[in-house]
């Protein structure tokens, strides 16, 4: 459902795949980005924390969407891959005195190698079988996080030093905001561009019909592994940022629930849509915080609510996933397009 203005002709494929469809959309996107850079001056530290969580999660969600939404390979192990990124970053920071601009790519490359290893079964398996294999990857990696005490610190976790940028220590929410925002912009732009190129078209063709794709000359072996590599690279960047942000990582941060949370983000946002992953992430990060406030109001009357809050939150996650799948299976991205189309025609909606 893509509504295009009258008179907006396309004469080549390049134009059709352009990120900025019109000058107006270019202006909108740039002013939005400038707005994002100005915004933190008006936010308190709690809102900055939420924004930072959104930025980090967006990177991971976009990565998962490349794998699941665009290539059609379901991964139930994304949480563990983020963990690999975080622990790799933590280990590298504790051993070497590199700056973050070396640590983060290195951690991401390590993660993408792990991702490729666990993605290898995808050559023989698809759909359900693959999701089960990645589920196994999740448990095996979790086991390694806990048992490889020399590298990960085991259940006790591992402290991480704050990143330093030319003498500036990025150790509070305000400074970290710009740090994570820049990484998010880079990663999202990269994803948008990967999807527009040959690689992205190969991914989509594998998703839509892999036998036809193979007949057309798409090397399934290469592109499936590439998809796993790119997706885990994103997870690695998100994990390294997470390590820098919370500065104390334990295996509990990367359980199966995290994997499920990321899957629900891209389902709620819309599979196969970069914009959708951003919407879904915002939704899933803001929802529990809103819920916490609502529960906080009611817990004056019912103190029990405070204790069972984690359970209520999980119940909401489940409920939201179910409701979206039943009533809005294409996610928020589609809703966004509908709203845009409505306002383009407003007030003459015919």
């Amino acid at each position: 459902m893509n509504y295009i203005n009258c008179g907006n002709f396309k004469t080549s494929y390049e134009k059709d795949a352009a990120i900025y469809q019109t000058t107006f959309s270019k202006i909108c996107i740039y002013s939005f980005l400038i707005g994002l850079f100005v915004l933190p001056f008006f936010l308190n530290s709690y809102l900055l924390y939420i924004m930072n969580m959104i930025f980090i999660s967006v990177i991971a969600a976009v990565g998962l969407n490349i794998l699941t939404g665009f290539t059609g390979l379901i991964s139930l192990g994304h949480g563990a891959f983020i963990g690999v990124g975080a622990f790799a970053a933590g280990y590298l920071i504790s051993k070497f005195s590199f700056g973050f601009f070396i640590i983060i790519p290195l951690a991401a490359i390590i993660t993408s190698m792990v991702g490729v290893i666990f993605g290898t079964p995808s050559l023989r398996l698809k759909d359900l079988y693959l999701s089960i294999a990645t589920l196994a990857a999740q448990f095996i990696l979790e086991f390694i996080f806990i048992r490889a005490e020399r590298i990960t610190g085991g259940v006790n976790g591992m402290p991480v030093d704050a990143p330093v940028f030319f003498g500036y220590t990025i150790d509070n929410d305000f400074r970290f905001y710009f740090f994570s925002l820049i990484y998010t912009i880079i990663m999202v732009t990269a994803a948008k561009n990967i999807i527009r190129t040959k690689i992205g078209r190969a991914f989509v063709s594998i998703r839509d019909n892999y036998i036809a794709a193979e007949t057309m000359g798409v090397d399934l072996f290469r592109y499936k592994l590439l998809s796993f590599a790119i997706s885990s690279f994103y997870a690695g960047v998100a994990g390294a940022l997470w390590a820098y942000y919370v500065r104390f990582i334990t295996p509990e941060h990367f359980t199966i629930n995290v994997s499920i949370q990321y899957l629900s983000m891209i389902i709620i946002g819309g599979l196969g849509s970069i914009l959708g992953s951003i919407f879904g992430t915002i939704f899933m990060v803001v929802l529990p915080e809103l819920l916490r406030h609502i529960i906080g109001i009611f817990s004056h009357y019912l103190p029990v609510l405070e204790q069972i809050f984690p359970a209520i939150r999980e119940a909401f996650y489940g409920l939201v996933i179910i409701l979206f799948l039943l009533f809005e299976p294409e996610g928020l991205a589609r809703r966004w397009n509908l709203i845009k189309a409505y306002w383009k025609l407003w007030p003459f909606s015919y």
């Binding site: 359900l128 079988y129 990857a137 119940a315 179910i322 799948l325």
Partner: protein, 294 residues
């Protein structure tokens, strides 16, 4: 040797509970093509409801057991009707996510109602173990194995002889053909969920009598995957055999390897085994090999 046999027996008991849960899983997969990630939560709900009936209303165990099974039958029926009926024909990722959402919903509802503490069933079976030869086996184990055997026999008879059972097998092998033969496929779908809920509940109540119950019990739902992958996703015999094999192997690893490396291997072993099986024999021991055509 005695240690080995003790582990073996415990493994067989746990394994046969896996078999029951896997049976439910396979049943749903076979007839509806839905992968149920909420199987463990069905077990959890059943176990808690049985406990609740026994403790709160002072109902004897046998009656509570029957009431629970009846309740779970309708519970499975309703889940299919409310949530999964609409999902027919949707892509597999949507269905997987729906059952994952369902599992997190059910689990948290159980947590909200009954809390997260471990609760034990009142003493139903005598505490003193029975001595067979030189082995001490607790009575719960013997009853569990008997109960599971009875259930498996009942289901085998059900599928082989009754009209509904044959209809379910027909739907499993070819939906379109069974539709044209006048089988009510929707009824079969609902029925398979109902039966799956019932068998999982039996597993849940047995494990509750052995170890007590808490919300971690839903882990059984994930352990089911190694079992069904080993046995073959769409094979009922495979589910039963796979369950026992995984249960025994898991306990062996727990008994012999865990002391060496300091724990944890028991829980991760089934998944390592599963990846290996997936790589060399993705359709398992008894599963149907699918040939894909354009």
């Amino acid at each position: 040797m005695e240690f080995f046999l003790q582990i073996l027996i415990a493994g067989i008991v746990i394994g046969s509970i896996y078999s029951l849960v896997a049976l439910g899983f396979t049943l749903i997969y076979k007839s509806t093509g839905i992968v149920n990630f909420a199987q463990g939560e069905l077990l959890l709900v059943g176990a808690y409801i049985c406990l609740h009936i026994i403790v709160s209303y002072n109902v004897p165990f046998v009656f509570a057991f029957i009431i629970t099974l009846l309740f779970m039958f309708f519970f499975g029926f309703l889940i299919e009707k409310i949530f999964l009926r609409k999902m027919i024909g949707e892509p597999i990722i949507s269905i997987i996510m729906l059952t994952i959402g369902l599992s997190s919903l059910l689990k948290s509802i159980v947590q909200i109602i009954w809390g997260t503490d471990t609760r034990t069933y009142p003493e139903i079976f005598p505490h003193e173990p029975v001595t067979i030869g030189f082995l001490n086996i607790s009575v719960v184990y013997i009853f569990s194995i008997i109960a599971i055997a009875i259930f498996l026999i009942i289901f085998t008879i059900f599928f082989k002889t009754t009209k509904t059972g044959v209809a379910m097998r027909a739907v499993a092998s070819d939906q379109q053909a069974s539709l044209s033969m006048g089988i009510d496929v929707r009824k079969i779908f609902a029925l398979s969920w109902a039966i799956a809920a019932v068998v999982s509940t039996v597993g849940g109540i047995l494990i509750g009598n052995i170890n007590g119950i808490n919300t971690n019990l839903s882990q059984f739902g994930l352990k089911v995957f190694p079992v069904v992958i080993l046995g073959g996703l769409d094979s009922i015999l495979g589910a039963i055999v796979g369950g026992v094999i995984i249960g025994v192997l898991e306990n062996m690893v727990g008994g012999y390897i865990d002391p060496l490396i300091g724990g944890g291997a028991k829980d991760v072993f089934p998944f390592v085994a599963m990846i290996i099986i997936l790589l060399i024999k993705p359709y398992g021991l008894f599963g149907t090999v699918k040939v894909e055509k354009v």
